[in-house]
Amino acid sequence: MTGPFVVVPLLVLLAGFAVAIYRQWRQNQTLKAQLEAIATDLQHLQQSCSRLVPAGVLQHLIADGVKSGIEAAAPERKVVTVLFADLVGSTAMSDRLEPAVLARVLNGYFQRMSDAIHEHRGHVAHFLGDGIVAYFGALQPNPWQCNDAVRAALAMRAALREYNVELGREGLPLLALGIGIDRGLGLVGLVGSRERMEYDFVGRTVNVAARVQTLTRIHQADILVTEALSVELDSRFVLTPMPAELVKGIAEPVVTYAVREGPSDAAPAEEAGER
């Protein structure tokens, strides 16, 4: 006689549990789907942001979490190598080419140069018109930043040579490049207003690199480095000393060295085979 009085409530209880478990499962599925959608959105957002901000900077900001931008990346003193690159004769080219063609040519140029810089542990800080400012050793400690910057410059030279072959095939004007490189102490971190900040390097070195870049036209050399940088370089880089020149904003004449070639990046055995 006690059977139905026990079994029925037990079944009702079990049914209740089953419904509750099913509801929880559905809720979990919904939450999981929402979480996946948010993760995908975040991934897209990070990809979009990485086109505007160097990935290393983004990682710093994400790692610092909820701190405000200014607090998170407070400027610190660092020795950084600055590479300043500029296209030669770009104004004349911009007058001659259709805007769409000019944009395509410039974007191709920027992509190749950025790849060469990134491949050698540098990061592009700014595109200034057709100019490029890149830093080595700003985001992460890099005791080999001088060699890296000059290797990047040589890779940029090689990449531009290849790009010019493509441009020549299309009957487009060929590009020429001037690169100035210097190293020195400055402030690194987020600088700017509350509305707009940039991860930047502030110091005399940026100005010197830009001025040295203008000397490439005078010395007829595409890559020039300062004396301060040349003493840090691997002796296997082939440098030619240039006469000291006065440049705007710097009191003393600037001594520079033209970079002819650098040590091979190939495996030692391959290198030996090439000689």
Binding site: E119, P141, P143, W144, A267
Partner: protein, 107 residues
Amino acid sequence: MIAVVARGLGCEVCAPEVSEALRREGLKESTLAQVLTHLDAPELDPIERLLVPFARETIWYEPAPLQRRARMLRDRLSGPQLLEAIGVASLANGLCRMGATVMDYNI
């Protein structure tokens, strides 16, 4: 390899320890300075000249250059040698990162 990683991470705990050990092993001061400054030296043998830049690439995990260096190593080393190189690189990174943390260095 450990000395290179220590220098790359600025680990002032590991760098002098490893340098001292290398000196005891007979490595000349000038060779060590050249390797740590330019990641190469004429005194290194061909395998060491591959291992040194490989060690450097393991510091910040940049996939493209790291894979390029690893491929160069793979072509020149036997399986066990390659495994040892990867193991030493891992050990070096762990050791130097912990060392840097000990000295309150912000990686």
